[in-house]
Every structure is written in structure tokens, then in C-alpha cells.
Amino acid sequence: MPWQSAAQPQQPRSAATVPVGESVRLAALQAAWKRDRQVSRRRLWWRWTVWGARRYVLPAAAGLALSAGLWFAAKASMGWIDGPTPTEPAIATATALATASTVPTTTANQVVPVAPLPSITVVMPSGMALAFEAGLPDPTVRLNRSAQTPVSSAALSDVAKIPNPQLISENWLHSKEP
């Protein structure tokens, strides 16, 4: 019968399964030591990390941030952020062009290939324009006066071609005073 087979008499628990007090104490102590090691190691590592961060990492980061800020400020004040100054590279490229054209491209029985030079584009930043000041004399007069050495007629003709610009007073705000 199924109910008879299920009614098995239980085995009495032997005394050997009950842990001895000493083994319990040792097991508890060992578990506590293991936990102590983990917790103390983690806490000590954290304390050293915080100390090192406060002592070394934070000043270093502050110094880096300060130097980076100063560098960017200097860069912005010198106008390097929007790109290089338009006149200087143009002059440099023109000089490079001139030297490249004068340097012979062939040596003895050897032809040096010349790479194609990039096109020169001078871009003036917006809001900037060249203007002559009102007090300056006529550039042609100044050139003629300082011409101690003989000037070729072609150069003089180039100077003569410069139109006389319309001089606009830059200090017109001061003229409103009575």
C-alpha cells in the first residue's frame, strides 16, 4: 500500500552531527578573520586612494586645467583659434614660390620633379579692411622723397597707378563735441 511505504520510521539524528563548541568557535573566528581581511583591505585601499587623490591628483589636475586655460586664452588673444593670420602665410608662400622658381630643377643629368604648388588664397577676416589714415601724406610723395637711389621707370609707373583713396575720418565721434 502506498501509505504504508511512505510511513518510514525516521532515523534518530546521531550525536556526531552536532558541532562541537570549539569547532563552532574556530569556524566563526575564521570566517570573521576572512571578512576582516577583505573589509580592512578595501577600506585601507580607499583611504590611500583618497589621500593620494587629494595630495597629487587634484593639484595636478588643477595645474593642467589652469595651464590649458591660459594657453587657450593666449591663443584666443593672438587670434590663432580662427586660423593663421592671412597675410603672413601668403607672404611666406609667395617667398617660397619665388625661391622655388629660381632654384634650378635639374642637376647634372638628373631631373628633380617639382611638385605642383597649391593655389594661394588670401582670406580676409570679416570686418577687417585696409584703410589709410588721414594724417599720412601721399604715398607717392613719400616714395619720391625717399628715392635716393635711382628708381626704374616701371616702378614709378606702378606707384603712379595707385589710386588716391578717399580718406575717412576715424575719429568722427570726437567731432560731436561742441
Partner: protein
């Protein structure tokens, strides 16, 4: 498998192995612990009360142990956790780098304190200052 207790510098390992009483982690004990025998107690939980060993005695505050508003007196005191109160070590006092002691501590013979230990209180040597030194 037997494990060694936490590495110590002053408190002998056999003293830590001879701990007889344990307040486990997560347990809260409120009251005083007092004995005249040379026994030991390890606190891994929270203890609110005094611990006094009249003779001998080893007190080990584990890394997870917290002892509040208390007066601890034993021959060997080994602190890894947080103690708020007065500590009296008749022989050796050892404060590890994970320990926090808020209160005064006094010792008669030896002291060892980790540089990363957090102590806010007075440390007093109770021995004879004018004794002949070697």
C-alpha cells in the same frame, strides 16, 4: 582548513585565536561585558556598552565592528573598526589603517598605529616616563 588571524604587529596571534566571545556582524549588543578571567572578545557587530577585563583579556574590534560610547579595558586591544569612547590597553594597543578611534586611548607598554588610522583624541602613555632607558 585553518586560517591565520589578521596580521598583527603587537598583539600576539595566539591571543586573537583565543577569543572566546563573538558579537557577529549585523548583531547589536547593548550592555556591559565584564569578566575576571583572561578571555577575549571580538566585536564584528554593534556594541553599546563597556567591556572590562579585570585581568588579562584581549579585545578585537573587527573591521566591521562598531563600539559606541564605551570604555574598553583589556591587556591587548586590537582595533580595526570604529570605536567611540575611551580605550585602555594595559599591555599593547594596536590601531590599524582601517580603524577609526574617536576618544582617548591610553596604554602601559606598547602602541602601534597605522599612518592611515583615523584617531581623534588623546593618546596617553601610562607608564613611567622617567624610567631608565636602554
Amino acid at each position: 582548513m585553518s586560517q591565520n588571524p589578521t596580521s598583527t604587529r603587537l598583539v600576539p596571534a595566539e591571543r586573537l585565536s583565543a577569543i572566546t566571545s563573538l558579537i557577529a556582524e549585523g548583531a547589536v549588543f547593548e550592555g556591559n561585558f565584564h569578566t575576571t578571567r583572561d578571555q577575549g572578545i571580538k566585536v564584528d557587530g554593534l556594541l553599546k556598552g563597556n567591556i572590562t577585563f579585570e585581568t588579562g583579556g584581549t579585545l578585537h574590534v573587527g573591521a566591521t565592528g562598531v563600539v559606541e560610547n564605551t570604555r574598553l579595558e583589556a591587556d591587548y586591544v586590537f582595533i580595526e573598526g570604529k570605536v567611540t569612547g575611551t580605550v585602555i590597553a594595559r599591555k599593547a594597543l594596536e590601531i590599524t589603517g582601517s580603524a577609526t578611534l574617536l576618544g582617548d586611548a591610553s596604554y602601559d607598554e606598547l602602541i602601534d598605529m597605522h599612518p592611515r588610522a583615523r584617531v581623534r583624541g588623546k593618546i596617553e602613555y601610562r607608564g613611567d616616563i622617567d624610567a631608565v632607558q636602554n
